[in-house]
Amino acid sequence: MINKIIQWARRKSPWILHFNSGGCNGCDIELLSLLTPKMDVERLGIMKESSPRHADILVCTGPVTAQTEARLKRIYEQMPAPKWVIAAGSCSCTGGVFSGAYNIHDGIDNVIPVDVYIPGCPCRPEAIVDGVVKLLEKVK
């Protein structure tokens, strides 16, 4: 019974931490525009957190450049246990239009395990919300 409540709580208040590992900030702005009145995510309980300690879901945008790779790993380790990763935007899924550059590790999945991929360059805000919802179903 207890963990049924805990599951419910986890589903109802997913806190997001956003990390941009070298992207063109198109997806980041779409992610930020989730909080604005038109696409208000706070009604789903999603809150944008600013410290890895507080967050549950790491939403990562951008192809992983060599410089950000070490930091991406460290942030992933800093997050407390029940954590998930969403790769937002085709850059973070497969390196997108920049794949093959001399400085890019195509996509997030060869650095940290990823749960949900959101395609689109830049990914539309509705797609991000849909990604989070799909992730929450996976949590059950």
Binding site: K12, R43, R53, D56
Partner: protein, 286 residues
């Protein structure tokens, strides 16, 4: 808990958004309890978990006193007013200590700032509230309330005192325009950066209860003349009063930008404190 939801819903409404559902604070806290705790090595575990616990306990006791005085007069003894204000002011000190134990860079800086703010705003809160107790001539909550029952509620003769107490309350609860220690954009979350899981949940709870206790105290001191407490409508009116105060709090936090630490300090010492002292002197003369 519900008040926190009211607050988030109101700020969302100001910003033209639909706020979170009512059970949101509840869900946040339960989820945090279920999360794993990580503490940076080098912080002694006992101290780090003790702090949120004590701060939550102190605020809870303060809350009981206030609500106790609401229900019936036997609970409040002579000096309970001072005890409540002291208990309410303790969490911000613990907040600062919390910052020091988790030796992160942001925590220490956040801690320093909350200390600076602590000195200036606790004093203000105490001085402004003492205006009412001077007028009513007694240091116990019920004394204040009974003095108001016959005469006018204190809000009218002591409007300045009320406004100052409100400013003190905002400073104490670290709400925007004074939320510098928890400033999202500079200090990440100040002292709470390193906390997670259960400890964070406790800090969150202290914040909720502290807000309610502060508002209830204000309502108690300034509005209590209008209704007699024990009957059902009395409680309804007091609830409405507290919601009104909560509305004012959210409104203020929606309008102002976050003040810099130096602006905050000199605004307080050069403007608020002398005003409140002068105000008290005025009451004594009257």
């Amino acid at each position: 808990m519900l008040f926190h939801w009211v607050d988030r819903k109101l700020t969302a409404k100001f910003e033209g958004r639909i706020g979170p559902p009512w059970y949101q604070p509840l869900a946040d806290v339960i989820k945090l309890f279920a999360k794993e705790d990580i503490l940076p090595n080098g912080t002694n575990d006992l101290f780090a978990s003790l702090l949120p616990l004590t701060s939550f306990a102190t605020v809870l006791t303060a809350g009981f006193y206030i609500f106790g005085a609401f229900i019936s007069t036997e609970f409040s003894f002579a000096g309970d007013f001072i005890v409540i204000v002291f208990l309410l002011s303790l969490p911000s000190l613990l907040f600062f200590l919390g910052g020091w134990t988790t030796s992160g860079v942001y925590s220490i800086l956040g801690g320093n700032r909350s200390l600076l703010q602590y000195f200036s705003y606790e004093v203000l809160f105490l001085v402004a509230l003492s205006g009412t107790s001077i007028a009513s001539g007694s240091w116990s909550l019920s004394g204040i309330r009974s003095a108001q029952e016959n005469g006018l509620p204190y809000i009218i003769p002591q409007l300045i005192g009320f406004v100052l107490a409100m400013a003190g309350l905002i400073g104490k609860l670290k709400r925007s325009p004074y939320d510098i220690p928890k400033a999202k954009s500079e200090m990440i979350v100040g002292p709470l950066t390193e906390y997670s899981g259960k400890r964070l949940a406790l800090w969150q709870l202290t914040d909720y209860v502290q807000t309610i206790a502060g508002i209830a105290l204000l309502a108690q001191c300034y509005f209590s003349g209008i209704w007699e407490v024990y009957s059902l409508p009395g409680i309804a009116i007091s609830l409405v009063m507290m919601l009104g105060l909560q509305f004012a709090l959210s409104m203020i936090s929606a309008i102002f930008t976050r003040l810099r630490i130096d602006q905050l300090i000199d605004l307080n010492w050069r403007f608020f404190i002398p005003l409140s002292l002068f105000h008290n002197v005025l009451i004594i003369i009257l």
